[in-house]
C-alpha cells in the first residue's frame, strides 16, 4: 500500500560558478538547514538521509556521503547515496519519497549537490578511453547533433533555441538563487554569441555551477504547520533505456515518453497541457525545451517549437516552463534534477516569490541524465491525492 507523501520544506544555495567560501559539507548544510527552517524542524526530526550527486570525479572525492554523514545529521540513521548521472537530483528525490510511500520512515531529508569548481567538470565528463579516437566533443558535443536532427525532423526555424535561452534567463532574474542573472539578455545577444557546438550558441548552453538543494519529505502524520502548505506527491516514475542501440530515437526517447505516461496516469492527468499549471523541466541546452514539450506530451510530434514560439511557455503564458530559470540559468549538475522537483513543489506551495506562477496548483518536475537515457519525474499538487 502507498502512504501519502508531502514536501514540507525546501532549501537551496545561491548557485555560483565557484563557492570558494565554503567546504562541501558547508554547502550541503546550507541547503539542508534552510529546508529544516522552512519545515520548522530540527535535525533530530529527520529519520533518514538520501544524498545524490553526479560523478564523484567532479570533486575528486569518492563516495562523499561517508564524509558528509555528520554534516547532514545522519549519524545513527540510514544514509543512502544515489547516482543516476544528470538526472540524479530527480531520482534522489524519488528514492527518498519511496521511503515515505513505502511506509519505512516518517520524514526523510533528500540532498543533492555539486561543487564542480573543486575539480574540472569538462575533464571529468570526457576522460579519454584508450583505443578510442582522440575525438572529444564535451557534453554539448554529444547533444548538439541530436538537436540538429530535431531541427531537421520538425522543420523548426533557427531562432527557437535562442528564444528559450532568453526566456529562461529573464525568469532567472526573478529567482534570487539562480546563478546567471542576465537582465539585459535578448534574442540578438544570444544569436551573436559564439557558436560552441554548431547549432548551439554559447548563450544557449547551461553554466557550470556550485550549488546544493534539499527537500524534506514527510508522511501525512509528519506534516508540520509551517509558513507554506505542503506540496503533495501525486505521481512518481523513473525509466531507463540503453544509451546506444540500433534504432534508438535520440531526439524523442521512448523511456521519456513511457515515464511521462506513467507519472501522468498515476496523477490522473490525460491532457498535460491543460491540466498541469507549470513545469520545471531539465533543459540544459535551449532546444531541449521544444524537444521535451513533444516527449512529455505537451505538444504533438513536430509541434513543440510552435508552442515555444507562441509564448505559451513564458512566465505569463498558459503553460510556463522553468519559471525558476531552469538548468540554463543554474547547473550544479548533481542538484539540477532536484532543483526541478523542488521548484515545482515551491510553485504549488505558493512559495516562489517573484517567479511564482499565479494560482499554480499542479506542477510537473522532470529530470533526465546521461545520454538522455535516464528519466525521473514527479507531479505535485496543493491538494491531497
Amino acid at each position: 500500500m502507498s502512504e501519502r507523501c508531502a514536501v514540507i520544506g525546501v532549501g537551496q544555495t545561491k548557485h555560483k560558478a565557484k563557492r570558494d567560501d565554503i567546504s562541501i559539507a558547508g554547502l550541503v548544510r546550507e541547503a539542508a538547514k534552510r529546508a529544516l527552517e522552512d519545515a520548522q524542524l530540527t535535525w533530530s526530526d529527520i529519520d533518514a538521509v538520501v544524498v545524490g550527486k553526479a560523478p564523484d570525479m567532479f570533486e575528486g572525492a569518492m563516495m562523499p556521503e561517508l564524509y558528509l554523514a555528520p554534516a547532514l545529521g545522519a549519524v545513527g540513521k540510514p544514509m543512502f547515496r544515489v547516482h543516476t548521472a544528470g538526472s540524479v537530483g530527480g531520482s534522489t528525490t524519488l528514492v527518498a519519497a519511496h521511503l515515505i510511500t513505502a511506509g519505512i520512515h516518517k520524514r526523510v531529508l533528500a540532498v543533492a549537490y555539486e561543487k564542480q569548481s573543486d575539480s574540472d567538470a569538462m575533464w571529468a565528463l570526457s576522460v579519454p578511453q584508450p583505443f578510442a579516437a582522440p575525438l572529444l566533443a564535451g557534453a554539448g558535443g554529444y547533444f548538439a547533433p541530436h538537436i540538429r536532427a530535431y531541427m531537421r525532423r520538425s522543420g523548426a526555424p533557427d531562432h527557437i533555441g535562442c528564444m528559450v535561452a532568453v526566456k529562461d534567463r529573464l525568469n532567472a532574474v526573478k529567482n534570487p538563487y539562480a546563478h546567471l542573472h542576465l537582465p539585459d539578455i535578448d534574442l540578438k545577444t544570444v544569436q551573436d554569441s559564439v557558436m560552441l557546438w554548431d547549432p548551439l550558441h554559447y548563450l544557449e548552453a547551461c553554466p557550470s555551477s556550485d550549488g546544493a538543494a534539499a527537500i524534506i519529505l514527510s508522511a501525512e502524520d509528519g506534516v508540520t504547520d509551517g509558513a507554506f502548505p505542503p506540496a503533495w506527491v501525486h505521481g512518481m516514475a523513473m525509466r531507463s533505456e540503453p544509451t546506444m542501440f540500433a534504432g534508438r530515437d535520440q531526439v524523442n526517447p521512448q523511456a521519456g515518453q513511457d515515464c511521462a505516461a506513467d507519472v501522468f496516469a498515476q496523477a490522473g492527468i490525460t491532457n498535460p497541457r491543460a491540466e498541469i499549471d507549470m513545469a520545471e523541466v531539465y533543459v540544459p541546452f535551449s532546444w531541449y525545451e521544444p524537444m521535451w514539450l513533444e516527449n512529455l506530451g505537451f505538444a504533438e510530434q513536430g509541434d513543440g517549437w510552435k508552442l515555444t514560439e507562441s509564448g505559451a511557455t513564458a512566465l505569463d503564458g498558459d503553460i510556463p516552463w522553468n519559471a525558476s530559470g531552469g538548468v540554463l540559468s543554474s547547473n550544479p549538475i548533481g542538484a539540477s534534477g532536484m532543483l526541478r522537483f523542488l521548484e515545482a513543489a515551491m510553485q504549488v506551495r505558493g512559495q516562489a516569490g517573484e517567479h511564482q506562477v499565479d494560482g499554480a496548483r499542479r506542477a510537473l518536475g522532470q529530470a533526465y541524465g546521461g545520454g538522455s537515457q535516464f528519466f525521473a519525474m514527479w507531479v505535485v499538487s496543493s491538494d491531497k491525492p
Binding site: 570558494d20 567560501d21 575528486g60 574540472d120 569538462m122 575533464w123 570526457s126 576522460v127 579519454p128 578511453q129 584508450p130 583505443f131 578510442a132 579516437a133 582522440p134 575525438l135 572529444l136 566533443a137 564535451g138 554539448g140 558535443g141 548538439a144 547533433p145 541530436h146 538537436i147 540538429r148 536532427a149 531537421r152 525532423r153 559564439v194 557558436m195 560552441l196 557546438w197 554548431d198 547549432p199 548551439l200 540503453p242 544509451t243 546506444m244 542501440f245 540500433a246 534504432g247 534508438r248 530515437d249 535520440q250 531526439v251
Partner: protein
C-alpha cells in the same frame, strides 16, 4: 596545558580557503572480447561489426552485448569504408584533453550495413558544407601507423556521391 606564551603566532596571511590535492590515478583498461575483435580489425584497416543473434542488428563498434537483448554479439561482419552522415555538430569550444584544432566537425557516421552510427571527425570539406545525408568514406593512416585503435582512422571525407535519401537514415537519428 600548553603555555600560551609559547603558542605559534597567528600570522596575517588570513585563513586557509583552498586546499589543492593533486590526484594521479593509473588504470588498466580492458576493451573486452568483442571490442578486441573490432580493434584487431582496425589494426588491419578494416571496420568489423558484430551482429546480434536475437535482433539481427549490426553494431560497430561492439561493446560486449546487444544493448536491447543483453546477449553477446558473436557474428563478425566486415563493413565497407563508406557511410552516411546522419547528423553532426561543429565543435568550437576549447577544453582540457582536446587534441584537434578548433573548429572541427564531429559527425555521426552510419557505415553501410551497420545499424548504429558512431562519432567520426570530418575533414577535407568546409564546416558549413557538411550536411545530413552526406556520403563519406574513411581515410586511414599510413599502413605502418595502423594500431588496434580508432586512431587508425584519420577522419572521414565526402565521397562526392549524391546524398543519401532522408528515409534511409531517419531512423538512425
Amino acid at each position: 596545558m600548553a603555555d600560551a606564551s609559547k603558542s605559534p603566532q597567528a600570522d596575517d596571511r588570513g585563513p586557509v580557503t583552498t586546499l589543492a590535492t593533486p590526484i594521479h590515478l593509473d588504470y588498466s583498461f580492458t576493451p573486452g572480447i568483442a571490442q578486441s575483435r573490432n580493434l584487431r580489425g582496425l589494426a588491419e584497416g578494416k571496420f568489423i561489426g558484430q551482429r546480434c543473434s536475437v535482433c539481427g542488428k549490426v553494431y560497430v563498434p561492439s561493446r560486449g552485448s546487444c544493448p536491447t537483448d543483453g546477449v553477446p554479439c558473436t557474428e563478425d561482419i566486415v563493413l565497407p569504408n563508406t557511410g552516411t552522415i546522419t547528423t553532426f555538430c561543429v565543435v568550437n569550444v576549447p577544453f582540457a584533453g582536446q587534441s584537434i584544432e578548433i573548429p572541427y566537425t564531429c559527425a555521426q557516421v552510419l557505415l553501410d550495413g551497420a545499424n548504429i552510427s558512431f562519432m567520426g571527425l570530418i575533414q577535407e570539406v568546409l564546416a558549413d558544407e557538411v550536411h545530413m545525408g552526406q556520403r563519406v568514406e574513411a581515410v586511414w593512416v599510413e599502413p605502418e601507423d595502423l594500431t588496434p585503435s580508432m586512431a587508425s582512422v584519420k577522419y572521414f571525407r565526402p565521397t562526392g556521391e549524391q546524398d543519401a535519401e532522408y528515409e534511409t537514415y531517419k531512423d538512425y537519428l
